[in-house]
Symmetry: C2
Subunit: 86 residues, 2 copies
Amino acid sequence: MDVLKVSSKSNPNAVAGALAGAIREKGIAEVQAVGAAAVNQAIKAIAITRGFVAPNGIDIITVPAFSSISIDGEERTAIKFLVEPR
Amino acid sequence: MDVLKVSSKSNPNAVAGALAGAIREKGIAEVQAVGAAAVNQAIKAIAITRGFVAPNGIDIITVPAFSSISIDGEERTAIKFLVEPR
C-alpha cells in the first residue's frame, strides 16, 4: 500500500492527485500527518480526492487512527488515514 | 442527525463520548470544524470514537467534505465529517 506523507506545506490538490492515482491502481492508500496543520492539509486532500475518483464510480471513505512514529529519533504521534472505497 | 461543532479548544475525549452516543442512538452523526486546530481535534475525536463503539460491534468510517457556513455574517469554509458505520 502506498503511504503518502503530508506536511503543513503540502498542496492539497497535489496530494489529492497522488492519492487518486494510488486508489485507482491499488484500491487503497494511507495518508500520514504529524501536527494540526498537516492533519488539516491531509483532510482537505481527502475531500478533494473524493471528487477526483467519483467519475470512476469510486466513493471513498477514510478511517483515522493514531500511530506512533519516530522522527529524528524522537517519538511522535501521527494521524494515519486509511483511504479506501466504501 | 446530530451536528457536533468542534473548536480548537474542544476536548477530543468529550467530543468522542458525545459522538459515540449519537451514533449508537441515530446510527450517523456530523462533526463540523473551522480551522486547522479544530479539524485536528475533530479527527482525534473520531479516532477515539472508533474505540468507544467498537465493543458495540460498530466499525465507523468518516466522509470529509467542504461546507460553507456563516460566522458573524462572514462566509467561512468549514470541514464537515459524516461519521457512520462502515
